[in-house]
Amino acid sequence: MSGGATVERVTGEVIIAVEGVSLAFGGVKALSDVSFDVREHEVRAIIGPNGAGKSSMLNVINGVYHPQRGTIRLKMDGTLREFHDMDPHEVALSGIARTFQNLALFKGMSVLDNIMTGRNLRMHSNILLQALRLGPAAKEEIEHREAVERIIDFLEIQAWRKTPVGRLPYGLQKRVDLGRALALEPSVLLLDEPMAGMNVEEKQDMCRFILDVNDHFGTTIVLIEHDMSVVMDISDRVVVLDYGRKIGDGTPDEVRGNQAVIDAYLGVSH
């Protein structure tokens, strides 16, 4: 996107390792024996037809669903550690944030407050201090406000900071959703179809934001996306799911050449 320079991304060690994960709802299998890994600083895409289990995969990673089998290992304090049945807020604490496919913003709150909510896990002043808004509580509010303002600035949504999110057009709401996730200062960002329903211009903007996040903060990105040209453009490696199974994994070029992938997905629906 940037005219001046193209930057080679340097990816690091494995930060998330998904091993043999299976998930079923009642009798319906959403994921069966899926394994893949995510490396530091990379942009990792998960693609697949509708109902392939992409969103379920994200939900497993961030603890909304607990898989029946398999493990998720996350890098914490420099080493990969295995976790069982982590709650979503524990996953958030460990540095993984996400956005949602269907907007899951807090409708009754302003843009500013929505993003401020993303700072909650870094705010610690107790309820009494907050009640009286005494020194530390007030100071904390201001410090985090400044952090949030930087995100607002980053996402270029200054004109709407005090607007209730419900009144914003769809594309801007998606940006706010991203902003809220960024407020966690995550090491990994899970993006569930960040560009769904956007026009070309909005998609370009969103791509720029995602790449800037990756570049500026060194955030690892895991994204689900339907627009193949976007996926091929911005991702380093791609996982392909179909009916809950992994059928391909590799660089965009490798995946493009993979016959199983072409059959299941690329050839048929796009």
Binding site: N62, G63, V64, D87, P88, H89, V91, A92, L93, A97, R98, F100, A104, L105, F106, K107, G108, M109, D113, M116, T117, G118, R119, N120, L121, M123, S125, I127, Q130, A131, L132, R133, A137, A138, E140, E141, I142, H144, R145, E146, R180, A181, A183, L184
Partner: protein, 354 residues
């Protein structure tokens, strides 16, 4: 129309985040406070204090409490009078058993006990949502109704089951006349309103609202549901408990079992629906409305010269309340507070419509 906001720019976050960022609002609020503290005590009659202002102040406090839980945190409760009862009986027993304790301390202790009970009944909210919770809170209602009616210890073994309070003396100041009660309650309400405002604009308030608006997303961005929900129950019950104690000591003076029954719970709920869920101002409007409507209904027929029986009036009241609830839910789910906000926005944009 009256707003002149040019030049009211903020150079610090503290200024930007203040409660009333617009100068004209601050002026209006200051004027209102002067009226409430100076003009009203001078001009209002005892009847006005006893039947309108004192109940209004106490019920506003209770409505704020309920609003924190229902309007801000999205956890429904149709048994909140139970926590009023807990507050009232706790205050009664504390004052009875430790007579030398300052009334303010009694109030806070009563609130804390109510908060503890509230948290207990809030525990199911961790596992269940919305509608189910309604039944859990009903359990609190019926259980406390029974508890205070049947366990004699709470009523100091009074044979009738009703209790009466001693006059309130605080720092050597006896709060006995309606004017004194009014002033005391007004001060308490203002303090509690400020505290509530601070909470809802702090990170805990945002956690509550996040739980209300989209609980899964809230958890995913790191909000602990246990903390958010239980703290809402605790704070809410604290407010309602204090309101209960004040209701008992300052408004009723003596009360019988079932003074804090389901009807009171539902009235609290109606206050916040009509006034506006998720709005502190709405709690004021709602309480004022619910306190005034019966009085208006009583006065109006006499004024119009149409005689209506008292039974008829109470039935009418039920019908009007019921119809209004449905009306507000359909037409303005955010209640009178939203109408106020819209009006204010119109004034700010005057003469433009939007």
């Amino acid at each position: 129309m009256f707003y002149r906001e040019n030049g009211q720019y903020k150079t610090t976050y503290a200024a930007d985040q203040q409660m009333l960022p617009i100068l004209q609002d601050r002026v209006f609020m200051a004027g209102l406070l002067v009226v409430a503290f100076v003009a009203v005590p001078f001009f209002a009659s005892d009847y006005l204090f006893l039947s309108l202002l004192i109940p209004f102040l106490i019920l506003t406090l209770a409505a704020i409490g309920l609003n924190l839980l229902v309007g801000y945190c999205g956890q429904i409760s149709i048994g909140h009078a139970a926590f009023m009862a807990v507050g009232a009986y706790a205050a009664y027993n504390i004052a009875l058993r430790i007579p030398q304790l300052n009334f303010l301390v009694v109030l806070v202790l009563a609130g804390l006990i109510a908060a503890a009970v509230g948290m207990l009944f809030g525990v199911p909210s961790l596992r269940i949502k919305g509608l189910y919770l309604a039944v859990a809170t009903l359990a609190a209602q019926f259980f406390t109704d029974w508890l205070f009616a049947r366990v004699k210890w709470f009523t100091d073994y009074a044979s009738s089951g009703s209790v009466s309070t001693a006059p309130i003396v605080m720092f050597g100041w006896t709060i006995d006349t309606p004017v004194k009660k009014y002033c005391f309650l007004l001060a308490v309400l203002i303090v509690f309103t400020l505290i509530a405002k601070n909470l809802v604009r702090g990170h805990i308030g945002r956690a509550w609202m996040a739980m209300r608006d989209m609980d899964v997303a809230a958890e995913v961005i790191g909000i602990r549901p246990v903390y958010a929900k239980l703290s809402a129950f605790a704070v809410s019950s604290f407010y309602v408990g204090v309101a209960g104690a004040l209701w008992g000591f300052m408004h009723l003076g003596s009360w019988e079992p079932l003074a804090f029954n389901l009807t009171l719970s539902l009235n609290l709920l109606f206050m916040i629906i009509i006034g506006g869920m998720g709005s502190l101002l709405g709690s004021y409007f709602g309480a004022a409305f619910i306190v005034m409507l019966p009085i208006l209904l009583n006065q109006l027929p006499t004024l119009l010269g149409v005689p209506i029986s008292t039974a008829m009036i109470s039935h009418l009241e039920l019908m009007i309340f019921g119809a209004l609830i449905v009306f507000f839910l359909i037409v303005e789910p955010h209640g009178l507070a939203r109408l106020w906000a819209v009006g204010k926005e119109k004034l700010r944009l005057w003469p433009f419509p939007h």
